[in-house]
Symmetry: D2
Subunit: 419 residues, 4 copies
């Protein structure tokens, strides 16, 4: 028989599971069934698909293999909602997810309820006998949280196609104030990098290992819209010398002259947010910047992006406080004062580090091994979380990764320099 | 004051307007809001878009220019639902129609009601004083009927992406019987071609003019699935000599070996219909054949496709009876006996005629001139209507046109030969 | 034993063969080996390839099947230099012809000599015993003449990539004078169309057949650069209503605002010719116009292009005099006076006729049947020959054909109207 | 006045310059003018272009800015032969280099002679007074050597398009023997990485800096064709779990089942070499492997690729002996015995390191700053040189870099593991 401590642990897991599952539906709440159907580019997915796929993950990795009497909701879903797990089987073509009108939203809701009931049953009855599965369960819960962030970024991208710039949810911008850009110094030395094994972490955050860093400084806050606007107005997008060669080719051929969600109307700058098109606030952190832009901005002020090791060292002992996913406030906060700020929440921060395996990294066996390892090429690491990240989902060792031309995530700029 | 004859004429127009408008909603009835949102290829459009665009046409060509006090439903719709009329203004990009989640279906319904009320008002009050507008009104009514056919072909195409092959509406196939292929002869001579000006017609059906035809014969019925299957089984898709050069390139590079909606499962042929995936019925007319395939099939039996003039001459004095849009029966009928059959309804029949202007054709001035004329290149004429065509929408001089690689329309094969 | 008349006939054929073969080398003369190697687009071919392929045609269609002891020059050439004859076998990929550096030019010359010797032997010894082969021989000779025109258009296209605008051969423009645009009328009636079987013709020129034409008028001369410039300056390329829908899309997306070889430098118009970049001569016929442009120009003056039947009727009893391939004079001539002029030579004239089979047309059996028939879709007929056409290669029934977006041929505009 | 030591130093530089310039022409010697014209893909360049561009580099970076009386050979060449230096000006489009038939080969030779004369004059007269330019001169000499390797890889790629598999130069394969795969261990620790400033180096090789490495082992030799064949025969190209996600997508869509230059004919494996198509030698090192394949192979034996730091540490104190560019022997050598072998020469070895800036790296000011820095994204570092690398061009700190899908370079596989 379990002691009460352990019981309360399982109770907490059960609570967390329910809260995370509800949070996904909450994000979908302001959306019509049409909104949940569309996919505006192959890299994005329909909201309905996210709702189904996260359920699929619990079904595929927990219920099917570990619950003897589990009754599959719909055999076809194994194929339809498999994102990229080759070890599970073929996948419905990614670029066509937005064309799957059936199952409709109502059926996906029924699917979610079916999974929820079975999962709660599993947590109550089977998990206590199989504690080894706790980590797998936490992985699936964190997986759903990752998709919650994607739901917000993907619907924003889809709405932006519409010339009426639909409002996902009205919310008021916080007050933004000017804050000086300070440099925070760190001595050279041998540092430890990677998760500390204290709580849940993804496989790509380990093993913890040593890295030698030269002395460096990192900025006290994120770069603001005003600072980035200065870069634009100084001809930043016309100056080849600031850009990586690939970036220069693409901004030339696509005629890019400002960040993805920025729009100039009658001489005034606006940017598109989940609360609609709003005037650009100069003191707010610049967002939806891709790696190429972050890099060019850094070059324009003769600095560079931090490596992910530098970022992690700088974030040691920093509180995780910040702006996270909050449907009533869909904007990042302002920086205030001279301390190191905006390290967590607000916006993902590009690092100069290519997403690669840490020394000694081995992907787990089986389908779960496909979760992170197979994407370790041509992507760049981002750190810190964003206003679209669930609050309890982040930590200092967390490694997010995207392609260098990706703009639809909540991404910003922090600078560094070798000193 | 109008006499009662005329009054009944306007009453008839009003009735027709209402029936056509209702028919569009009827087609949408079996669909979910998600179904109505999707666009499976740039050539197809979402059902919701069809419902809005047909309303837009009444608003743009009748209400705005001719009803002084007309209150526009939504200014933005002028841009959002303009299909291709450059004289009206810019158009929302065609390939992105499926990404417009707003207006949602409910708002589109409200838009339709707004248009209906205003149009009925216009028909009752203004039309009698502006009889010259009758033709314009009939054009718009016929326009909506054209979109009704497209609604059925577009949703079929979208559903076919789904590996579960959704059923639009259950319906029973008619009984199919074998019927001999006869040849119907016509003497050489000077014939008159084009509309006879007796009722409504599209501009591209005229002017009526003379054409000299050599003596020819045309088949008594459409080619059947069984006959086409023989072509496949004789290696038709592997025999370069039967295909136009462009066609051969594309079936090689796309690895095409059967018609678009055909599927072979465990050695048995099925085809996808609006009633789902059903076993191929050998005596039913083969459908969803593109021009390239129709041409290759004809070559394989040492015949050719008819010219549109030959088809029109053969159709003279033929009854318009046939299978038209009927949501309770979504399949073409069988041919019976030796008479000339299946000329109208059932399936559009490819002709060898490039879609071009008739001698003396002039497109009308203004936006309406863009209706047909600007598409007169690289497309081929089809005649006769189909099971997706509204019953009162067809006539002998009616010219439909599609690109030679188009397969998603209800298209079939009739053969001809010079004798 | 042959009588002297027949002997002289064979002597003439032999002479013609030699002259045509020499003419190809003459065209290559001003070119370096590098010039002869390149292929600037998939639709064009390297000069070296043309020289080899035309030899391949004599080898494949005459020497191999009809000369028992013929020794093949190189077995691999059957594949390398097959243009598009599926009945002969696989073809080296068209778009990669420019990458075949071996055989080099010297080896291709040796190949040509080998073919010449064997062909002359064939003409002297075997042809008299196989008079039925005369037509096949003439086809191959005419085939080489067609490639001579392509050599000139393809090298022009390749040179135009070079920002130094290389000169193929210096030559002086003729003096151009203004000439009024007259309309030549033709009565309605039943006309005979197609070759008269008097001399060599391609299969697509027959069978001769009847066509009924409404009364029409056709312009006395080709449209000039000055007239076309007026179209440009009146905003022709910005006026959607003048263009076919496909054309409008492509000039928008490719930002086309003038004919392919036209260049504006410091406010002055130039066009690229085989004699280099020269100032635009307003009275010279406008050339390198594609079907879309010809059509739009016609629409801008409220006229249309002639049908190919109208063109053929208008050309009856017209002398074939005109400017043909002459390496010392690479420019079309001016029109003078009021007569019907510039019907032959000068520039190919777009007709509104889609390239299709004449009534009763059957492609010959075997590989030769692929010569013309399989291209009868999506192309448009041009008539009359050009300054790149060999002088003895044209006739009133000659049907050239290209895709409507093709600009690199010597193509011009003649207008027509229904009267 | 210079003392004799310094004089001999300038004499040596002059000798080196002449030898390197001659070596480029030597590589071109077996090629026809046609061979030197072609460009088989955008990433490759024509041989003629390489010969011109390397001259352009001396002209642009040394003669124009530093020789007052230098007479430019041809003003247009500044644009035509600029590879990618935005600071110099616009560039002729990379993908069209193979279409530039003028200047022809003879003119390019004249250009080279003009540059040679002027450069020798510069080295003799001006360099002694401007010793600061020595490094720039050495950079340009090394630049030409880099292009010598590309000449060999680019012509190989172009020849491979030809189904006759042309021989660049006949040469005999060395005798290959089986050699055991040993693991060479290295202790964990803080190592110094980067050039030691003793001789010429590229900017990307510095600054020298510290890196902490976990203990690791590296294989004694390169992976052989026999070992790679086993990977293929064990279904390596069909096993998703071995491949990075991007790689799996591309081998699926392109149907890749073996290395780029491998061909199976009648059950036997051949590979294409500069000496033609030859039977695969099982004990020779496998070459033309891209990063994706190298990574998948490593995964298949449960190892990984070395990081560039590990490779550099392992290469410390290793002799630079190995097979380098030798036109009489175009094959890598066999490995013999148990020592660490094949570290230099033979084949470039993929590392798992994304090509990025070393800590403290700053690109130089001006156009020269574009040499390396702007390519630091999405490429992977290769180390060691190859049989196409000039012998005196390599060192332990040398960082080559290519995209992970690049196969046309002389690339092979060395494995590592964390111990």
């Amino acid at each position: 028989m379990l002691n009460s401590n352990t019981q309360s642990e399982f109770h907490l897991i059960s609570m967390k599971f329910k809260m995370v599952r509800e949070a996904s539906l909450k994000i979908a709440e302001p959306l019509s069934e049409e909104d949940m159907q569309v996919q505006s580019m192959p890299e994005a997915s329909p909201i309905k698909w996210h709702l189904a796929h996260t359920s699929w993950a619990f079904e595929t990795f927990i219920l099917k293999p570990h619950c003897k009497n589990y009754r599959v909701f719909n055999q076809k879903f194994e194929y339809l909602f498999n994102s990229y797990y080759n070890a599970i089987g073929q996948q419905f073509p990614r670029a066509q997810r937005g064309l799957l009108t059936r199952p409709d939203y109502k059926e996906v809701l029924a699917y979610r309820q079916h999974i929820d009931l079975n999962m709660l049953d599993f947590i109550e009855k089977l998990l206590p006998e199989n504690e080894s599965l706790i980590n797998l369960l936490l992985l699936m819960i964190n997986h759903e949280q990752q998709h919650q962030e994607l739901m917000l970024t993907d619907i924003k991208h889809a709405f932006f196609v519409n010339p009426e710039y639909p409002v996902y949810k009205k919310s008021k911008s916080p007050e933004y104030v000017a804050s000086p850009l300070q440099w925070k110094k760190h001595a050279a030395g041998l540092y430890e990098i990677g998760h500390k094994n204290e709580s849940f972490y993804f496989d790509n955050e380990g093993p913890r290992h040593h890295a030698y860093l030269d002395s460096f400084a990192i900025t006290s806050r994120l770069i603001t819209c005003g600072e980035y606007l200065e870069f634009i107005e100084n001809g930043g997008y016309q100056q080849a010398s600031l850009w990586l060669s690939e970036a220069w080719s693409s901004i030339q051929s696509d005629k890019i002259t400002s960040p993805f969600y920025w729009i100039k109307k009658q001489g005034k700058w606006f940017h598109y947010t989940l609360s609609g098109l709003i005037p650009l606030e100069l003191n707010s952190p610049v967002m939806h910047i891709n790696y190429f832009e972050a890099n060019a901005y850094a070059a324009s002020v003769d600095k560079r992006l931090p490596t992910e090791q530098e970022w992690e060292v700088a974030s040691t002992d920093i509180s995780l406080e910040g702006s996270y996913c909050d449907l009533d406030r869909l904007h990042p906060c302002t920086a205030r004062g001279n301390d190191l700020q905006q390290m967590f929440g607000e916006l993902w921060q590009w690092t100069s580090s290519s997403y690669n395996a840490y020394p000694g990294f081995k992907a787990p066996e089986g389908a779960i091994g496909e979760y992170n390892g197979k994407f370790m090429v041509n992507q760049y690491v981002l750190r810190g979380g964003s206003i679209a990240t669930p609050r309890d989902h982040i930590r200092a060792s967390y490694r997010n990764f995207f392609y260098p031309d990706a703009s639809w995530q909540y991404t910003g700029i922090r600078l560094a320099e070798t000193i």
